[in-house]
């Protein structure tokens, strides 16, 4: 143990191991503080009192291990799932919303193809095409149109 022998330092070492989210953290600190005070009041030396409590890390770990692993009731788990998904929903909502209210890819391809009098449009990389006249490539135009369709309201 490498702590200066003060009760507050000891309690702090115990708390350091416990996650801040642990709701009972403060209660545990108050109880330990009370225990140390009682023992000191009984005339014991601080060093002995702390030795009785043992290694602060070990003490914190046995507190942590004491949490029973009982699964929560169904509705609480369901609520937790919804909460888990909530931030993801917030993050993907704007792009999805934009996409939904704008023209999709197929619609843009169709519009550009009709405008140019083209009857078939291939995806060059997926069609098995070995060579084609670069003049037939309408990728740039499609990208421009698609960008316009998805960004403009």
């Amino acid at each position: 143990m490498t702590f200066a022998p003060t009760s507050e330092r000891y309690i702090q070492l115990v708390l350091d191991v416990m996650p801040r989210s642990m709701p009972t953290r403060t209660e545990i600190a108050i109880e330990l503080r009370g225990h140390i005070a009682e023992r000191l009041g009984g005339g014991q030396k601080l060093e002995d009192v702390l030795r009785q409590l043992g290694d602060p890390v070990a003490l914190a770990e046995s507190y942590l291990a004491a949490v029973p692993l009982v699964s929560a009731p169904f509705w609480r788990r369901a609520a937790a799932k919804v909460l888990d998904v909530f931030p993801v929903g917030i993050a993907i909502a704007p792009p999805v919303w934009l996409l939904l209210r704008s023209e999709g890819l197929t619609a843009v391809v169709e519009r550009v193809a009709r405008a140019r009098g083209v009857q078939l449009v291939f995806n060059r990389s997926e069609s098995g095409l070995h060579w084609g006249d670069p003049a037939l490539d309408i990728s740039d135009e499609l990208v421009t149109q698609l960008n316009r369709a998805t960004s403009a309201p």
Binding site: I28, I30, G34, A58, Y63, A65, A66, V67
Partner: protein, 141 residues
Amino acid sequence: MIQPAAAASVSRFQISTASGEPERSDERRSIERELKRGSLELIVLHLLEPGEAYGYEIVAKLTAETNGALEVTDGTLYPVLYRLERSGFVSIRWETPARGVPRKYYRLTDAGRGELARLKNEWTRFASAMTTMLGQNRGTR
């Protein structure tokens, strides 16, 4: 509430490891530790049976009732209380004396009484089975 004699006898606890004792004693100590760990909840529930008590009171009571023979340290006892609370076997109440630090009082719940009865029964069965077995062995040796 707190017997001074009890408080004095508690301080004889020691963390002794490097005393040059043979390994056998370590082994024996670890069996003792396993037994103790299994029975800690029973001990605490039993100590709470007469009525509510706060942490330090329970520690002092344990030392007084067993004459310190069980050597349960403060550091092992508090997490047990915490576990019992989380499992719903004890309910708690905070009280701050006029002069002094807040005390956390523990009291058995109905579930706690049920658990105490169950553990007591289990312990008695285990102990009598062990006694019977060890007694038989003595005859055949």
